[in-house]
Structures are given as C-alpha cells and as structure tokens.
C-alpha cells in the first residue's frame, strides 16, 4: 500500500529538514554572518587572578595602536547598564548581582577587566597585552570547604558565601530511618566539567541610532529571555530589541545564559553607534562558559533485610562559582538535584539538605541533565552497595523496588507526580535484551577475562521533562517562563508556516514541529516552514532547554495548528456541504471521510480565507487563516529508562573501554525516532565523557589548568561503542500530544551505568567508586590501593 504523503508524519523517522543547508556548508552560525560595513571587533582582557583587587588600568599604549578604536574599562561604561540579578527575594536565596565587567575586584580567573575595540579581531587581540592593570591578589577560595570556613571573606555583600540553601524532610522520616536495619552510606563527588559545544559563544550587535533599536545575533538557546534581560539591564523597551539566534552549534544548557560579553557588546554598539562583533576562542569558552557538576553528595539509603527501600537522605553541596547566572540563578544545581533525586523506586521517606556555595571559580549552571546525572550516580551507587551488603544481585534489588505499571499515577516523596510510565518493563526488557542473567552466569569472581577485568552496570532512572510555569515558580526560578508558544499560519497560496518560541540548536525541532503541523493540516511536510530563534518573528516563550521542546513547544504548535485546522474544516464544510466533523485533511486536500472523491484543495481553502476567491468565508468567520496558542505543561513529565553498560578495565593502563551499551527508554509518544535516537546517542556520549575522562582542574590559586582540547578531553569515535536502543512508548495522558522529553536522559543514565560497571569489573578489588572521572590515573589508583583487599577465592 502506498504511504500517504501528508499524514502520519508523527512517529515516523523523517530525515531532517535542517540537514541540507548544513551539509552544503550553507549554515549560518553567528560568526558566519556577514558583518555590516564599519563593524568593530572586540577582544576581552580577563583577570589572570582568581581573586584580586583591581587598581589603576593604563590603556594609552594599547589605544595608540593603529586600528584600535577604544579600550573600554568599567569606568568608561559606568551607567550604561545595570548588573543582572537572577534570583528573587525568597527564603533560602541570598540575592547577589553579576555586573558584566569587573569593578575594583575580580572574582574568578577569566572575569573581564577591559575590552579592546578594533577594526579587526586580530588587532583587538594583539593589543590586550599592552593594557596594564594593577592587581592586588586576594586569597582565592576554590572549594566549598574553603568558602564556608569561619572568617573567610564573603564574595558578595551579606551572603556568607551561601547563595542558596534548602531542605526537606518527609513527615515520619526520622522514625522510618531509625527503624531500618540496613543503612548504606557514601560520599560521592563529581568533577567540574564543561559543556563544550563545538561552536564557542559569540555575538553581533547592530544598533540603529536613529530608531534607538538593536538587533543582536547571538549564540543563545533562549532569545526571549535574553531580550528581557537586556531590556532590564539597559532600561530599554523590549519592543526596541530583536534577538536572533541563527544556526547554533550546540548548546546543552550553558547557552541559555546571558553572558558579560553579550551585555558589553551591546553597550559598546550603542555607545559607539557602530556594529560590534565578538567570538570567543576555545580557551575563553572553556574558561568562562558556565561549568557544571562540581558536586558533593552525601547519601544514606535505609533498607529492610529484603532490600526494600525504607528511606533516603542526602546532603548536597554545589560549588556554584563566583556568580549566580541569569536566568536560572543559584539554586539550579543544588535544588534541582535534590528534587529530582527520588527516582523510579517506591520511596516514602526522603530528606535532603542542599546548598550552593560561592567560590572564586567560573560560575556553574545548567548543563544537560543538570544534577540528575550526579543524583543517579548516588542513588544507583547506593543500591549496588546495598545489594552487595544483602547478597542480592543488582538487578534483583531494583526489581524489588521499582514502580509497577499499576501504581501510576504515583506521587513521590517530594510531591512530584509521575503520570504514567514503564519503569519495571524497561528494566525487564533491558535485562532480557542484554542477556543479563546469561552474562552473570558466565562471570567469574575475579571478573578477569582475556587480560582485562570485565563487568556490567545497571542504571534505572527518571528524567524530569517538560516542566511548566508552576514547576519553575515552585523552584524559585522566576526568570524562566515555563510555557512556550506558536503562531501557525496557512498562507494565501495554501502552504503553511509556524513561528515557535524555542530555538533550534541541533535537536531537530524544525523537523519535529513540521511533522506536527503537516499532520494536523493535511499538508506535505515540504510545504511547511518552521521559524524559530527570532524574537521579532516568534511569540514570547521560554526557549530551548530542560528537555521541554517536544512537550511545551510541540504542544503549543499542536494547539495552534488545531485552531487553524478548525477553521479549515469550516471552510471545507461550506464547499463540500458537509459537517466539519466529517471532514479529513490529507495530501493537500480536505475530503469527506470515507468519500475521498468529495474533496477541495487546501490551496482553495486558503484562497477563501484570504479573499482571493469568489466564495466568502463561512458565516461568523472573518478573513485570515492563522492562530496563536501557548502551552504551559501543567506539571513536570517523567521519562523513564534503564541503561546497561559492559566495560573492560585494562589493569596495565587503567583504561576503561565500553564494550557494549544498551538503552531501553520510554519518552511517551515519539514524534521522530531518528531524532530521539540521536538525542540518546549524544547524551550517552556526554555522560561517558563525564564518567571516564572529562574534568576541569584548578590549581590551589584558582587557576584553571584545563583550557584547551589537549587537556580537557572529549570522547572521540574510538571511545564510543555502538549504542543499542529499544523504545517503549507510553503516551502521557496529560500532555498535549502525549509527548514527553528525552534530551537529557542519556547523560543521566550513563554516569551510574558506567560507574557501576567499573565497580563490577573491579569487584575483586572491592574498589570504592565514589568519584569521577574514572580516568586511567584514578582507575590505576583504585587497583593499587585495593590490591591487598583483592578477593582471590573461588
């Protein structure tokens, strides 16, 4: 049977509409945009000290170089903009400010102290070395422990280096915890890492002095939030500001933030009345793009003797760096980890304490998965320890605790409702597809096979996706709207366009939104244009992040398209003398259900709607064929998955290689399996990077020592195994379209799956895997430290 061209796009592996341009070198990333005549280029002089008083700044020698327009310091820019304040007054939050250029004091190495403005980027960068700054270094606090020592000076007024603290305890927690016969405890630490999108950050600010308006092309995931931040900072009207996110070379969270370079370039464009461009190099990007996962989690899991979870307590400390980033503020990692920690298991009693601490390192923030990868590194690590203590297989202890299909909707210990899912089924399917039992039966106590120690790790987890406004308000993150929006239009010629508040940063949202529109309007997908990433063309909304796209933006597109569809059916009903409810839209035609010969072209319907036809619009309807709608997901939607990882540890080199990787997951109704699989592949790779190799290293003085790709290692094609994926599909009964998100799960599962697999491989050493990355030096230490504890029996 021939496939219909213009229905049933949702659920199909449609190759992406984004690809053709990008494959031909015709993508337009920020640095690719033709700079208007007269464009000036910026280079940023950054503090070499993690903490220092700034004395005099001598700029004359630099300013005298031909081609240099001006050297700007904080004094030159005073009064042009105000500091960004991400957090609101609210219990637990200590509000602080982030001013875009250091005034008197630099709080991390990399903070901007002066800006060179020149005719060419080469000259701007050249003259940085001619700017003389008097620094008086101050003691730098690099770790959380140092930052909260008595007597340590506060980095911001009146915060005592605590940006945020929060806590929670279930009623009855203490009694339940005290009564449990089995407790496992461990302290887990991540390493600070970088999101490292392949495209560094950049911007092109074009100011029109006559109109006093600004067009700012930026590497941003959230142009609408950026517009609000800029309007606020400059005391400007949002109507005068247009933010354009052209093609974006990866984001992963940190490109959702507003950066000092954004504010400074706009200030200079306005002050100098010239276009201004900047583009970070890799060193700047690794040093100053918001970092993540500098976490310490003290976890305690209480169980009964059958391995049934009784209670969970966690204390979370996040090294948040020098400033609270806009829009997500200081609580994002600490509170996020705490709230997302109760995972796919029956857990009645939960308690946490969480805080974010200010230090003299680069600010930290949201990176793919936020704190969930650490949270499940902890949870799944504790479960494996409990299983070992009780003599249970890691799979068995999970099967005893994981939620069953008949328990949904389930409200967890902290009040998050899980609408529906396939938690147990995912685990069972993964165990079957991975022949887990067979693998276990072949394992020897030493785990030593053909020169390497080999093991398997399991991770079950939940992923918070599609959070709406209510969730962000509850979390105290008021700079994030939480809803998204779409305008859907059928144009006079009968083709459609949708304008969506999110931004395409690689996730394939142009294709998935087009699939939704094509399905709802009965059009060929090639007759649908999707526009994103432009505040003047798209309606206000949140943007891209937090695995919200399919739910929030997809939901808005679906709802707006359905409004247009309704009017199309009315017009078609007039034509066909049939009730609108009996009409279907398909293949570019409206036809009576069951009678495909009774049809009218959608182009003709569009002509009626745009006064290009003899026939008037139906009674009660005016001209036009477009609709706007917004979608605020009522709650948060939980995607579930199980990952299995098989690793081999080379005792000679300490190198961990991943020999097989399996993902079984359920993200509700799938719009495009190709795109979903791509999201999982990439996220698993990022999780693998964090688990096995990535780490930002600081000296005791707060200097970042990993500033390029030779010492900040990203996974290559040789580090990744093929990743096997099985989809389970349980549509959400609550979200528009039944969609859930899937962007972050791969990272969340990869950390615990790989950590547990390495622990299993090194079981004979009784190695305690409680910190990352499991890089060769760390693995060799584990083997050497525990060689004497090695179990050689049986």
């Amino acid at each position: 049977m021939a496939e219909t061209r213009s229905s049933g796009y949702i659920g199909r592996a449609v190759p992406r509409l984004e690809d053709s341009r990008l494959l031909r070198g015709l993508g337009r990333y920020v640095d690719d945009l033709a700079a208007p005549p007269g464009t000036l280029h910026l280079a940023f002089l950054r503090s070499p000290h993690a903490h220092a008083r700034i004395g005099s700044i001598r700029t004359a020698a630099a300013a005298a170089i031909p081609g240099v327009h001006v050297i700007a310091t904080a004094a030159d820019l005073a009064g042009l903009f105000t500091a960004l304040r991400a957090d609101y007054e609210r219990p637990g939050f200590n509000r602080s400010e982030w001013y875009s250029i250091a005034v008197d004091r630099a709080r991390y190495a990399g903070e901007i102290v002066a800006v060179a403005v020149a005719d060419s980027p080469y000259v701007a960068e050249d003259v940085l070395e001619l700017i003389e700054v008097e620094y008086a270094p101050l003691p730098a606090v690099v770790t959380v422990a140092d930052a909260v020592k008595p007597g340590v000076a506060s980095l911001h007024p009146n915060i005592g280096n605590v940006f945020f603290q929060g806590s929670f305890k279930s009623p009855g927690f203490d009694a339940a915890f005290a009564a449990a016969p089995v407790i496992v405890r461990e302290t887990f630490t991540g390493s600070r890492i970088a999101s490292a999108p392949m495209e560094p950050r950049g911007g092109l600010a074009v100011y029109d002095p006559g109109r006093d308006d600004l067009t700012y092309h930026a590497t941003t995931q959230m142009p609408h939030i950026m517009r609000t931040a800029i309007a606020e900072s400059f005391g400007w009207s949002e109507s005068q500001i247009r933010i354009i996110a052209p093609d974006i070379g990866g984001g992963f969270g940190p490109k959702a933030y507003i950066y000092p370079e954004d504010i400074l370039s706009i200030a200079l464009a306005r002050k100098l009345e010239r276009p201004v461009k900047w583009f970070c190099d890799r060193m700047e990007d690794l040093q100053t793009t918001l970092q993540a996962r500098d976490h310490r989690f003290d976890g305690e899991l209480a169980l009964d003797r059958q391995g049934i979870i009784q209670a969970l307590r966690v204390r979370i400390e996040v090294n948040a760096g020098a400033y609270a980033g806009y829009p997500f503020g200081s609580s994002i990692e600490a509170a996020g980890g705490a709230v997302m920690m109760p995972g796919p298991y029956r857990l009645k009693y939960y308690a946490y304490e969480a805080r974010s601490i200010a230090t003299n390192v680069c600010p930290a923030g949201a990176y793919r998965g936020v704190s969930q990868p650490t949270a499940f590194f902890v949870m799944e690590g504790l479960l494996d320890r409990a299983a070992a203590k009780l003599g249970l297989d890691p799979a068995e202890i999970r099967l005893r605790n994981i939620l069953h299909a008949d328990e949904f909707p389930y409200t967890n210990a902290i009040g998050i409702r899980y609408d529906i899912g396939s938690y147990e089924e995912c685990l069972k399917r993964a165990l079957a597809l991975g022949d887990y039992a067979g693998y276990r039966s072949r394992q020897t106590p030493t785990r030593f096979v053909e020169g390497k120690y080999r093991g398997v790790g399991i991770a079950c987890f939940t992923e918070h996706t599609g959070q709406g406004a209510s969730r962000y308000r509850d979390r105290g993150i008021r700079r994030m709207p939480g809803y998204d929006s779409a305008v859907v239009k059928v144009l006079p010629g009968g083709k459609a366009a949708a304008y969506v508040s999110q931004t395409e940063i690689g996730q394939g949202s142009i294709t998935t939104c087009a699939q939704i529109v094509a399905d709802r309007l009965g059009l060929d997908i090639n007759d649908v244009t999707i526009v994103e990433g432009d505040t003047s063309l798209t309606p206000h909304g949140s943007g891209t992040g937090a695995s919200r796209g399919a739910v929030a933006a997809g939901g808005a597109v679906l709802r707006a398209a359905d409004k247009v569809r309704e009017k199309m059916l009315r017009i078609a009903g007039d034509f066909l003398e049939a009730s609108p409810k009996d009409i279907e839209l398909n293949d570019g035609y409206a036809h009576v259900a069951g009678a495909p010969q009774l049809r009218v072209a959608i182009a003709e319907i569009a002509a009626v709607a745009h006064a290009a036809h003899d026939r008037p619009p139906p009674k009660g309807h005016g001209f036009g064929l477009e609709a706007t709608d917004h979608y605020d997901p009522p709650h948060v939607y939980i995607t579930n998955a199980t990952h299995l990882a098989w690793v081999a540890v080379d005792p000679a080199t300490g190198l961990v290689s991943v020999e097989r990787y399996l993902v079984v997951h359920d993200c509700g109704r799938v719009i495009n399996p190709l795109v979903v699989e791509g999201q999982i592949h990439g996220a698993v790779a990022q999780g693998l990077g964090q688990a096995l190799m990535e780490r930002i290293v600081h000296g005791a003085d707060g200097q970042q020592q990993t500033v390029h790709f030779l010492d900040y290692l990203l996974p290559t094609a040789l580090d990744l195994p093929p990743i096997e994926i099985a989809h389970l599909e349980t549509p959400s009964p609550e979200t528009a379209g039944g969609f859930k998100g899937v962007g972050e799960g791969g990272v969340i599962g990869a950390l615990p799956a790989l950590a547990n697999a390495v622990a299993d491989a090194l079981k004979s050493f009784n190695a305690n895997i409680n910190r990352l990355p499991l890089a060769p030096d760390h693995v060799l230490d584990l083997i050497d430290q525990h060689r004497d504890r090695r179990v050689t029996a049986a």
Binding site: G678, G682, T716, A717
Partner: protein
Amino acid sequence: MTTETTHVRLTVNGRVYERTVEPRLLLVDFLRHELGLTGTHVGCAHGVCGACTVIMNGETVRTCITFAVQAEGAQIKTVEGLAENGRLNPIQQAFHENHALQCGYCTPGFLMTVTEFLDENPDPSENEIRHALAGNLCRCTGYVNIVRAVRAAAEKMRSGAVQR
C-alpha cells in the same frame, strides 16, 4: 603588529582567487572572511577538533593552524565544493539519511575527513572508520550515526563505481 602584506593566489573549489593578505592571516579566516566561504568552521583554533578541515592538494589540512600564505598555488576543496549541481554527494546524502549530524557545526570537517578517507579506503571496517574519525570531535551525535553514514556512503560509492 605588522602591516606588511603579501600576495596569495590559490584555487578553491575550482575557482582561482588572488588576494593581498597579512602573512599571519590564518587560512581558515582567509576562506571564511576574505572569500566568504563560511562553511569551514573554527572549533578550537589549536588543531585538535577538526572542524576546520579542508582538502589541500589532495590531503586534509587543519586550516586553523595553517597560514593563508602557505596555501600559495594550492588546490583547495571545501565543504561548499562537495555537492554536485546543488545535489548532495553520496557522503552528504548518507549523513542526511542516517541522521549523522545535529547542530552541524563539526559536520563540514567530518565530511572532508571522510572524503579523503573513502578515497584511500573504499571498503573500510568499522574499526578503520572509527580510527579515521578519531581526529574530529563531535559533541552531539556520539559518533554512532556518523560511523553508520560512512559505512553507507562507502557501500553506495562502491556499487556506483561498479556500475560505471
């Protein structure tokens, strides 16, 4: 801070260009900003990530660590020169069909690396493909679909070669 300039003449995608440049101008900046061929991207500027890879005189080079003047007299092929009459070539087509790109920023570098690789090794094993790709970084795809695409392109190009 020199203002000395020098003359450079080279062929890019079959077209001859002549420009006067500073000796320190990087080849990638020359391609992008002097010639407007912005498909070649800068990912790291220290020769590690491979995003800026082009083919110069038949071999891949990293244009972020090559000066424009070093390309004097060279024949260069960039990503803009891959499509034939506006149609994706078999490697590009395989990347599209196998969802081997997401943000697309690293993609031009991969395409150029794969172009050279399949020229030298038309029937590679998975392990050979992974080794060939190991000098190019991608942060989006986990390389899973890039490896698939290279295998698919190789098959297609081999069958095409047989038909011819």
